[in-house]
Amino acid sequence: MTIPVQFYSYFKDLTGCESATVTLDADATIQDLLDRLFDRFPRLAEMPNSILVAVGVEYQPRDHVLRDGDEVSLFPPVQGG
């Protein structure tokens, strides 16, 4: 399956992209997706615990299993207000 990934805030600077796509095996998890992205964008791997991950509009943990059609977003801690 091919998962589209959107970057927000300074993650766009770290990766040089607004978005990317990652091709994964069925039943891959968010951690699998992150590992692939860390290979492609090493600067993203520098603070792995500061990466928030949403699937659609909901936060999901690292062991969440991705499904075909999911849209993933990666961003640093939020700073509204």
Binding site: Y8, S9, Y10, V57, E58, F75, V78, G80, G81
Partner: protein, 130 residues
């Protein structure tokens, strides 16, 4: 509970928002909070903050917070406005109004909403230096 959410680059017109307030006869307290861009971030002077929102997710997460407020307190109305884009020093980036029967509930709900927003609503800022 009445809910009104605006996420937009338009300036926040607090006087108009205040003039449009609606309260039923059972309500005794209204709080408005304005978060305003300060002239410095840490030691550095700035001219503005550029706010970026993941709009669709921000609306969803605000909705979850409003649900939680409604569960915890007998709030009649929440109106919340968050600006996006460049907000100059001395302009409001955030305006929140909470209307409740009593003062303590209004204060608690308003602070809860802002505290939780800062944890979960996907909005980020970038300071624009002098």
């Amino acid at each position: 509970m009445h809910r009104h959410l605006t996420i937009s680059p338009d300036p926040i017109d607090e006087a108009s928002l205040t003039a449009e307030r609606k309260m039923s006869d059972g309500m005794g307290a209204a709080i408005c909070f304005s978060g305003v861009v300060r002239g410095s971030e840490g030691a550095d002077a700035i001219t503005a903050i550029d706010y970026e929102a993941f709009d669709k997710m921000a609306r969803y997460q605000f909705g979850l917070l409003f649900d939680e407020v409604e569960k915890r307190w007998p709030i009649e109305s929440i109106r919340l406005v968050h600006r996006t884009g460049v907000v100059k020093v001395n302009e409001s980036s955030l305006w929140v109004e909470v209307i409740a029967p009593h003062r303590a509930e209004a204060f608690e709900a308003c602070q809860f909403l802002i505290d939780e927003m800062k944890k979960v609503v996907p909005i980020w800022k970038r300071a624009i230096p002098e």
